[in-house]
């Protein structure tokens, strides 16, 4: 009988650095470590408290002015080659704390980063899936990634994962941008219309934008495995353009009024509301006044 002995892969060691986090990512890392079901063990990984013994560095939190020196010294103790993984949007973009006098995130300005695991905080399954990709990087890609463990006991229908945007439902009111603590949403006046960009690496997955969105143009999806290579960092976006159309009466370019909003205003859509949708606000006013006149005479 022919047996092919595959030598077991050496165990990789993980080292954690907290640069000033809210402790969300750290507490979830502790759970990821303690609960075998999440499968870190299956990936052949274990944690070490000794930086000189580590192969992978997991970093949480927005680098603070006070922690910077200690963090960088600690990081330097991990021997090269190493794989650096950022957990949560804090180290990736500064998250909620960007632009504070006390925060110097993002971390990639200080250390070379290999992989980002967005989330605020990412669920343990997302952390493990991300680390699996990091392990693949370490092992040179010959080993297929380990599939995430089964979702025992989790109900994920309400999960606040990656946000999704539908330009066709957007009225350009920008309320989402107003309520967004992550500074994750941008509107740009573009030739084709109003451009919308949401950068997932700045998003706190709080759902405030979708809560206040009057038309449901923004909504969370259940997509939670958002880990990506550093080179992809700035490409993690949700984009759309609300096209301008000429007003059917005066021809001035305008943002169309979407059916979602008309439904809110008029309860039922009719030929009359459909006509209103194609009018700019001024022409709409003129038409409504005509209606008033009709009613009063």
């Amino acid at each position: 009988m022919h047996t092919c002995k595959v030598p077991p892969l050496p165990k990789l060691r993980l080292y954690r650095i907290n640069t000033g986090s809210c402790n969300g990512c750290d507490v979830e890392l502790a759970a990821t470590e303690a609960i075998t079901r999440f499968g870190l063990d299956r990936l052949g990984l274990s944690f070490t408290a000794d930086p000189t013994q580590a192969d992978l560095v997991l970093i949480t939190g927005p680098l603070t002015v006070s922690s910077r020196e200690k963090v960088l010294a600690e990081y330097a103790e991990v021997p090269d080659p190493k794989i650096t993984v950022l957990i949560g949007v804090c180290p990736i973009s500064g998250g909620a704390f960007r632009d504070s006098y006390a925060v110097v995130a993002p971390l990639d300005e200080f250390v070379p980063v290999d992989l980002n695991i967005p989330g605020c905080p990412p669920r343990p399954q997302a952390i493990v899936a991300g680390i699996a990709k990091a392990v693949q990087l370490w092992r040179g890609g010959e080993h297929p990634p380990v599939s995430p463990g089964p979702e025992e006991g989790s109900l994920t229908e309400n999960l606040r994962g990656r946000m999704r945007y539908r330009a066709e439902a957007c009225v350009g009111c920008r309320i989402c941008q107003h309520v967004c603590a992550g500074g994750a949403i941008r509107f740009d006046e573009e030739e084709a219309g109003l451009g919308f960009t949401l950068w997932h690496n700045s998003c706190l997955f709080c759902g405030m934008c979708s809560h206040y969105c009057p038309t449901g143009a923004l909504a969370p999806t259940r997509e939670w495995d958002l880990a990506h290579r550093q080179a992809e960092k700035y490409r993690q976006v949700e984009k759309g353009v609300v096209p301008r159309i000429p007003c059917s009466a005066c021809g001035v370019p305008m943002l169309p009024v979407v059916p979602e909003l008309m439904k809110k205003g008029y309860r039922a859509l009719s030929a009359e509301t459909a006509r209103l949708q194609t009018l700019c606000s001024e022409c709409r006013q003129v038409r409504s006044l005509e209606g008033v006149k009709r009613c009063t005479t």
């Binding site: 907290n18 000033g20 986090s21 809210c22 402790n23 969300g24 750290d26 507490v27 979830e28 502790a30 759970a31 303690a34 609960i35 408290a49 939190g61 927005p62 603070t64 002015v65 006070s66 922690s67 200690k70 998250g95 909620a96 704390f97 632009d99 504070s100 006098y101 006390a102 925060v103 605020c120 905080p121 669920r123 343990p124 006991g153 989790s154 109900l155 994920t156 229908e157 309400n158 999960l159 606040r160 107003h178 309520v179 967004c180 603590a181 992550g182 706190l204 997955f205 709080c206 759902g207 405030m208 809560h211 206040y212 969370p220």
Partner: protein, 360 residues
């Protein structure tokens, strides 16, 4: 006796978060303590002045993940008070549900850490497993295991239909026996008792002098719980007995938390049974007039107080808050005095200190 000064970091202190201590020792005993804070200082109070009220709800939820619901709900209460809004009753109950579910998870995490430090590794895993039930429940209902995103000005932004009420009830049912059992372990297990009884004592007088709050105060015999002293939200319609212990030691603190975790289960059940019909929030964009206001709540670690000053715009003039861990740090010096240096990590974790809350 030899006197030295040693510096201890998060690793030696057994903390998830970076905090440093300068400890004076006499022989192998602690003689004095200086807490060196600031590693997690993110300038949050300053940042809140540059963010509007809506952004601040999410920002404050990122102050600390363990009491993440207490901050936005207390902040919203302050805004609602200023605006003279009467929050719909259903929203009040739903806020209490969110707060209490966070309390269970927070207390269990501390309980796990304490078990870990005293070397009870099987117990540590058991508590973490139990906590997973709570984590899964939060994720199923709110969409995230730590940050619930439950609050908005004027109420909450989630609702429980019959299906979710049923799910929540069955999850709570599953917590009851293990929580009971856990309480018994911390109360009776001889090994745990040897490690925790008479350790890190804070007397009632000391507790009063340092103005400590929460389980640390209640474990020293101070009968104070904001939910009972100045009820907010739905708490004036919920019944529970303030958990008080007399010994003021590590064990007493653990027992207060475990009693509160059991009570939290009952409080959520009461909420679900009483849950009134109606809207879960008032109108979306209320006007917040100029003024100043205080709002308080009982966060997992104790009294949380917010002071908000406004000028009629939607940015705060000043938003100041004092977290429960804040006064508790200073009392640590008393708890550690004369204790063997080897007990520092246990005693420190027995106050369930939150560094991200403290440093802000």
């Amino acid at each position: 006796m030899s006197r030295t000064v040693i510096t201890l970091g998060p690793r030696q202190l057994g903390l998830e978060e970076p905090m440093y201590f300068r400890v004076q020792t006499a022989g192998d005993r602690v003689a004095g303590l200086e807490v060196l804070a600031g590693q997690v200082h993110r300038g949050l109070e300053h940042l809140t002045l540059k963010r509007n009220f809506y952004q601040n709800i999410t920002l404050l939820e990122r102050l600390c993940s363990l009491c993440s619901n207490s901050h936005p709900s207390t902040f919203c209460t302050a805004l609602e008070e200023l605006a003279g809004m009467v929050v719909p009753p259903r929203a009040e109950y739903l806020r209490a549900v969110a707060d209490e579910i966070k309390r269970i998870a927070s207390h269990l995490f501390n309980c796990a850490v304490v078990a870990h430090i005293v070397g009870e590794h099987a117990l540590f895993r058991r508590v973490m497993e139990l906590r997973e039930t709570v984590q899964q429940t939060k994720e199923a209902i709110y969409g995230n295991r730590m940050d619930l995103a439950a609050n908005c000005i004027g109420g909450v932004r989630y609702d429980l239909d019959a299906g979710r009420v049923g799910y929540l009830k069955s999850q709570l049912e599953g917590l009851k026996a293990p929580l009971e059992e856990l309480y018994r372990v911390f109360a009776d297990d001889p090994a745990l008792a040897a490690a925790t009884v008479g350790v890190g004592v804070l007397t009632r007088e000391q507790a009063q002098a340092f103005g400590v709050v929460g389980p640390v105060a209640r474990a020293a015999g101070i009968d104070y719980d904001v939910r009972e002293k100045s009820p907010y939200g739905a708490y004036d319609r919920l019944s529970f007995q303030v958990a008080v212990q007399a010994a003021g030691d590590v064990r007493a603190r653990a027992l207060v938390r475990l009693v509160e975790a059991r009570q939290a289960v009952s409080l959520i059940e009461q909420c679900l049974d009483q849950l009134p019909e109606g809207p879960v929030a008032l109108m979306s964009f209320p006007e917040i007039p100029a003024g100043e206001v205080i709002a308080k709540s009982e966060a997992p670690r104790g009294e949380l107080i917010y002071y908000l000053r406004t000028d009629g715009t939607d940015l705060p003039v000043r938003l100041k808050w004092r977290v429960p861990s804040y006064p508790n740090w200073a009392a640590l010096g008393e708890m550690l005095k004369g204790e063997p240096v080897s007990r520092i990590p246990l005693i420190v974790n027995s106050i369930d200190p939150c560094i991200s809350c403290t440093d802000r």
